[in-house]
Symmetry: C2
Subunit: 440 residues, 2 copies
Amino acid sequence: MKRILILGAGRTTPSLIDYLAKRSSEMNWEVRVADISLSHAQQKTAGYPNTSTCAFDILQTEQSDSEISAADLVISLLPVRFHIQAALACLKFKKHLLTASYITAEMKALDQQAKDNKILLLNECGLDPGIDHMTAMAALDKIRIEYGGIVNSFISYTGGLVSPESDSNPWNYKFTWNPRNVVLAGKETAQFIRNGRYKYIPYHRVFTRIEPVEIEGYGSFEGYPNRDSLKYRELYGLQNVATMMRSTLRRPGFCAAWNILVQLGLTDDSYSLEGLKKLTHRDLMNTFLYFHPSRSVEYKLCEHLKLDLHGEIMQKLTWLGLFEKTPIEMDSASPAKVLQELLEKKWELQPNDKDMIVMQHQVGYSIGNQHKKLQSSLVVIGDDMQHTAMSKTVGWPLAIAAKLILTGELLDAGVKAPITPNYYRPIIKELETLGVNLIE
Amino acid sequence: MKRILILGAGRTTPSLIDYLAKRSSEMNWEVRVADISLSHAQQKTAGYPNTSTCAFDILQTEQSDSEISAADLVISLLPVRFHIQAALACLKFKKHLLTASYITAEMKALDQQAKDNKILLLNECGLDPGIDHMTAMAALDKIRIEYGGIVNSFISYTGGLVSPESDSNPWNYKFTWNPRNVVLAGKETAQFIRNGRYKYIPYHRVFTRIEPVEIEGYGSFEGYPNRDSLKYRELYGLQNVATMMRSTLRRPGFCAAWNILVQLGLTDDSYSLEGLKKLTHRDLMNTFLYFHPSRSVEYKLCEHLKLDLHGEIMQKLTWLGLFEKTPIEMDSASPAKVLQELLEKKWELQPNDKDMIVMQHQVGYSIGNQHKKLQSSLVVIGDDMQHTAMSKTVGWPLAIAAKLILTGELLDAGVKAPITPNYYRPIIKELETLGVNLIE
């Protein structure tokens, strides 16, 4: 029996565990789920065959060495800063490691060591990063190899949103992903190139530089540029491409309202607010506005940021409870942390809610003098609060990669991302059988 | 003969050297100026008696030990990151050290050691920090001790500007201070308290939160909030004050135009621009704007940031050469660095230009039921490009403190700032004889 060790039993694990456990008898696998909270691990494995659980702390070396040495393959869904610990232990005991996180410089530095030990440290094998790379490379390789075309432009949109049937708030958004990451999203100068011209957008203007996107059958969205798109040119072999831009999708109107929170400083995580215990949410809004002896917080906000007092943006902000005289009840926190607390209540996915993943690549290419466009879209709807589209699209690529490695169908070593055909072909093919379909 | 060792011969040294050298025969001093560039040190001491110079690198321990051990008192005008090296050597050889920089955490940690060795490490003894503290404490102590009043509010404005007679550009501004600091000014959430209400302003809105200030005889200014004002409450003994706000002064219209540079991302120092060699300043402006096949850079800027194409802001930006097709001629640099290069040419102080320091404190206080206001202002005009008001107001407080220490009139130990009467009384008194007058 081969043991698959899953580190971390967070919100992205249900579909991963479901996939592996359902095939465990046939494949002769044991699925062991390790989490800092034993009950979390137990909840996630309840009712599945061939599973086991343990309380686990990656920083307790003795325990983590013992768990990792007893496994045949390790999948880490821990916070990204802990992956390096997992990787070092995997190298020590010669175990393959899979993660759905970006390759850090520290991880990259283990490449030669991993190759020498014939160990695969596969990262970026979830949704974003993960399915985005795989579907992009599938499209690009098709154009370059099958059609003999030259790629001129690559634009890609990805969003983790709420399904239309569960879309019940004025922001058309609920959390299906780490709330802190959502609050701090875009906190980096956006960098991309368009028609041969570099474009740089500082954080405080990112949410004003939006573009409309239509996805057939799913309506209208808007995309804002997602951090550094320039580095993807090398990764995708598009060094000389005139347009390279990756964007994040929201429903129309989200960015204009979110921008107000950015403008006010509510997403600032760089300092601690003083005297929070005594403040209400309304008081906090006031701290970001100029002093006036009699004007209301709403009036000052609208006047300062040129908003319509009865417009959609004010409706969204009001719905969040930002103007309510409710106590904040935190000791000391950054504005971003206070905002996150509030949003976690308002944007919580309800038990029967379904989330939705939307991804679209638009690739412009030429064959001789002919200019063509390839568009590939992917929409995944979640089943419920547990088996979310996010859980499926992060967990399944990891699960499939684990299967391919354990059956010997995939053989590789070093620090890798799934951007070559040996990864993306079998993974995309099996994702399609699971209902994750790319529409070209 | 007592030796005063000055580390660094930058733009703030001429008045310091002038003060010390002119009194050197009478006081029996040798003034030794050490700089990484020997010729810089020689230029600054040329024509003065009892001076000597040497090439000096604080990181060459042997040489810096030998220079510091041979001195009776050390004044460091090195970049702030080097003060700690100077302080450690001063402790080793039991020499007093004076700087015009903020006390860092590293410096603060030397307090007990300095006290044990009876060594004074006096910091924040220039203009800002320096004269600002001393004049503030003089006013506050007068109210508290002499008048028996209770201070309710403290608002302070400081600006290093160009004198009206030398004011010859549409920004009404020239560099009299480290250009890099000017370009990166305000890069921190501004924090202050006003009428009992905390106010926090993120960097990207600091230059929109300006207030008009009038200084009698010198016309109109505008002030923008200067970083963290809250921490001054403890320093000034104003823990319960309802208003505490420190601002930086510019001439009216400066901030609105500077804000456009901030909004565009031209003050961003967080990443390197790619392919700079091929870009003109006009191209660079375009990288911060949306793509359009035919609209001009000026049109796009005005449309995006709601500017009048022929208004004052556009005149200021145009005067800087931001829309010119001149090559940037840098290999790789952040936007802030490119902007600094450009500004250094445009805002350069000319040989006969005079700079101007403006400072104003507004202190509100009550005696019983009576509410009163004390306003103290200070304006210093430079003589020329060398003996700037900046050089005088930074150099003279250091020079006077050095004299007080060497003559034994001032005796203290530990890591200190000049916020107590033993410092501010004699220093302010002598500054007045030098023409630095506080007008109440």
